[in-house]
């Protein structure tokens, strides 16, 4: 947001009026917009002023956010079930519980902003523009998958979305590099580089902080702190669990990652900040309901009661739906309708993800090199098989 415009709004009578009349909790008077003060104020690091604690959205946005979060939740539920049905093999890391982060962040990003994340990528892949079928069919290895079924969970890409990275923490320096590209090309865009609280302890993260700050790259580092690295709680694995401060010279902010509007507000602020001042670090405090991966039942290092408590008290979807229904913005029927629609669409997507054809074996030789010469051959799995690559 333009600074002068911001000042204009802050100083305007209308804004003052709004501040004066707005109740601290939920405004139930209007049914076209909802405004409220976020539950937890942002913790700031090297920032004099954070984003506004007042967040709001209109009905259209609310339904959109709700629908997208439900799509991701159901996509992940389906993925988990298909994995347990042995239809999805290999790696699979579910995003259930963290939906508000990607939905809220995407809502504040420009369509030309870039995103790069690790392998908990299904939600981000969907929100960056890949269809539900593109994600699920990729997981089941069908040709309608976004990488033709060749990549699976760890290799999903689309325009301005750089994956789906299998190497823990490697996406963070890559994200700084994408931000360098934006700056170099004089583009008014940022790159969002996401990582988990486990990857936050990697050495390369700090190298990326350093370079990003040195060159004031327009990058938003986002630590999706879901409380647990692979089998280890944050406090057992990190000497400092204040991830938003760990960029030292990089300003940071701790955000309630379960509040989609709070996330959007923080991302708006961070985006403006990054474009003018260089890197900023957001710690999104969130939670994952499933294990780290499908091989992790997720109950050996935490108890089931803790998970259920988060589901009941902090779930990003139910807290948001409660908020918007209690405020009279939407009716429970409208949400129910969305739920049913999401369920029906996901069933269709699931059916196609199970029945769409697989790629021909020959296709495995293609897309190995960028624009290979005609007739260029690639070696197969043994020393005797060579096939033409396209």
């Amino acid at each position: 947001m333009n600074k002068s415009l911001k000042n204009l709004i802050l100083n305007s009578d209308k804004f003052g009026q709004l501040l004066a009349i707005r109740p601290l909790s939920v405004s139930a008077k209007q049914n076209t917009t909802i405004s409220y003060t976020i539950d937890k104020s942002y913790d700031l690091h090297r920032l004099e002023q954070g984003p506004s604690l007042e967040v709001s959205c209109n009905k259209e946005e609310a339904l959109d956010f709700y629908r997208k979060m439900q799509y991701i939740r159901r996509l992940e539920t389906t993925s988990g079930n298909l994995y347990k049905d042995k239809q999805i093999r290999g790696f699979c890391h579910l995003y259930s519980g963290q939906e508000a982060v990607c939905v809220g962040m995407k809502a504040a990003l420009d369509q030309n902003d870039s995103v790069i994340t690790a392998y908990r990528a299904h939600g981000w892949t969907y929100i960056m523009g890949v269809s539900l079928l593109g994600v699920l069919a990729e997981l089941t290895g069908r040709r309608t998958g976004c990488a033709k079924g060749k990549g699976g969970s760890m290799h999903m890409y689309t325009k301005n979305f750089y994956g789906g990275n299998g190497i823990v923490g490697a996406q963070i320096p890559l994200g700084a590099g994408i931000a360098l590209k934006h700056k170099y090309m004089n583009e008014p865009n940022v790159c969002v580089a996401l990582y988990g609280d486990g990857a936050a302890n990697q050495g390369q993260v700090f190298e990326a902080y350093n370079m990003a700050k040195l060159w004031n790259l327009p990058v938003i580092f986002v630590c999706e702190n879901n409380g647990y690295a692979m089998g280890t709680s944050v406090n057992r694995g990190s000497a400092s669990a204040d991830f938003y401060t760990r960029g030292d010279f990089v300003p940071g902010m701790r955000v309630d990652g379960m509040d989609v509007l709070g996330v959007r507000e923080a991302t708006r602020f961070a985006r403006d900040f990054a474009l003018t001042n260089g890197p900023i670090l957001l710690e999104m405090v969130t939670y994952r309901y499933s294990g780290h991966s499908m091989s992790d039942p997720g109950t050996s290092y935490r108890n089931r009661e803790e998970v259920q408590e988060v589901r009941q008290k902090r779930d990003p979807i139910t807290t948001f739906s409660k908020r918007i229904t209690e405020a009279g913005l939407v009716t429970p029927e409208e949400l129910k309708e969305i739920d049913n629609g999401v369920r029906a669409e996901m069933q269709e997507v699931e059916r196609r993800a199970l029945t769409d054809p697989e790629l021909d074996v020959q296709e495995l030789y293609n897309d190995v090199y960028y624009q290979p010469e005609p007739g260029f051959k690639v070696r197969g799995c043994d020393n005797f098989t060579y096939e033409v690559s396209k």
């Binding site: 109950t299 049913n340 059916r351 199970l354 074996v361 197969g380």
Partner: protein, 443 residues
């Protein structure tokens, strides 16, 4: 499966998306048209799990369930794991009770009705008994043949096994198809017709305690000296173009003179005469009295004649130098050689006493060797290999004593012509030993 499928097709996403304007009708009048009950199937809870057992149901039919609730405990191949549900609804049917053992993954074990449905009216899908993991074929999209569904056996061979097939030239018809499950892995039985199986007896382990392993060889580390010798020999043999010529020299006169000198208590050896003869020959054929400079590729003819004498020590050959051998007489040479050889055997040679020199003589005559050829000792360009004295008959059937001498020379610095001249000169001096006993023969 068909039941579930029909339900789904009955309301495809398209249908639903187009019905946005009539959602209220849709929602109120037929809320669960699309909502088949949620099927609970035996999950694969570990990568190796193929079947599991229901230990205990933690919910009863009619119980409300919420996402994250544990419905039952399942015994996998590794542990007892909780079966969680991610849906909201009512547990409508338990199809397999507590303690059901060895249930195939994918088998329907229960049904959950969606919120708003009457859980009592939920009916079991018809195909419930069988596993429903096989993908259904869509009616609209013509199915492409799946890669793994191909009937050609050759296409089903895994890469490692295919490698074996290629290596051994196995006809794939020999492969025991019963061993295929579902892909031919490397471990699948491959009958290789050309190689008979090892006999049972050969594989059988011997009984009793294992004897301690005694190697039938002994490891000996090379001494530093041998390493240096090897290094220099390799350098010499691989960089110097060696040529060899051999001549038999008559030494009867030397033997006679030596006998007289020994009578006079002048103890000299034949080798001392040879040394003196070589020194004089080098003076007359200076091409062989040279050192090669490998770095510049030039060779220099030396002003002094310093003859190296190869001496065998316990560690190997060393070559002490008789300096100005052309200028001193045989007795002096003899004296020098005795001192140097003794020093060499005791390892007391000073570097200047064995480094340098313009030519080397290696004499194995005293060890009974008839003839041999030697390797040039760089930077020198020639070496003379001397054998033992042998009694022979000449053409007149007279006895004579011959010694076979082989000259190795560096073809770069010395032509065959000059080498031949050298050998002839040497032969001349050895045949006229009276020239050798003078301090400086008048040539």
């Amino acid at each position: 499966m068909s039941f579930r499928l029909l339900n789904r097709i009955g309301l495809s996403s398209k249908h639903f998306l187009f019905s946005k304007n009539s959602t209220s009708f849709f929602h109120k009048s037929c809320p669960n048209l699309y909502a088949a009950p949620i099927q609970l199937k035996m999950p694969s809870l570990s990568p190796t799990m193929t079947e599991g057992s229901i230990v205990k149901w933690l919910k009863k039919e009619g119980d409300q369930v919420a996402p994250g609730d544990v419905l039952m405990e399942i015994q996998t191949d590794k542990a007892i794991v909780a079966f969680e549900i991610e849906e909201e609804g009512t547990l409508a049917k338990i199809l397999l009770p507590d303690d059901s053992k060895n249930i195939q993954v994918g088998t329907l074990v229960g049904l959950v009705s969606l919120p708003g449905d009457d859980w009592k009216t939920v009916s079991v899908p018809q195909e419930s008994a069988s596993s429903s993991t096989t993908p259904q074929v869509s009616a609209e999209t013509p199915q492409q043949p799946l890669a793994h569904g191909s009937s050609e056996i050759s296409q089903r061979i895994g890469p490692a096994a295919r490698n074996l097939v290629h290596l051994y030239g196995v006809d794939t018809t020999y492969i025991d198809k019963n061993g295929l499950k579902p892909n031919l892995a490397e471990s699948a039985p491959v009958e290789i017709p050309t190689e008979p199986k090892p006999k049972e007896a050969q594989v059988k382990k011997p009984s009793g305690s294992h004897p301690e392993y005694q190697p039938d060889y002994q490891d000996i580390e090379l001494s530093n000296m041998r390493k240096v010798i090897a290094k220099r020999l390799v350098f010499s043999k691989s960089t110097i173009p060696h040529s060899y010529i051999t001549a038999n020299c008559l030494v009867d006169k030397i033997i006679n003179i030596r006998k007289e000198m020994i009578k006079n208590k002048q103890k000299v050896s034949i080798n001392d005469f040879i040394t003196k003869a070589v020194a004089l020959a080098l003076r007359l054929v200076p091409e062989l009295n040279s050192n090669m400079n490998e770095k510049t590729g030039e060779y220099s003819q030396l002003n002094t004649v310093d003859v190296s004498i190869a001496v065998a020590t316990d560690n190997g050959l060393i070559t002490p130098i008789v300096k100005d051998a052309d200028k001193i007489d045989v007795l002096d040479i003899s004296e020098n050689v005795k001192i140097l050889a003794e020093k060499a055997r005791e390892g007391r040679l000073m570097p200047h006493e064995f480094q340098g020199g313009s030519f080397t003589i290696s004499n194995l005559g005293m060890f009974g060797i008839n003839e041999f050829s030697a390797v040039i000792n760089p930077p020198q360009i020639g070496i003379l290999a001397v054998g033992k004295s042998q009694l022979k008959f000449n053409t007149n059937m007279e006895k004579q004593t011959e010694i076979s001498m082989t000259l190795s020379y560096d073809e770069r610095c010395c032509s065959l012509d000059r080498a031949q001249t050298f050998m002839n000169t040497l032969h001349f001096f050895l045949s006229n030993p009276d020239l050798l006993v003078q301090q400086k023969p008048d040539l």
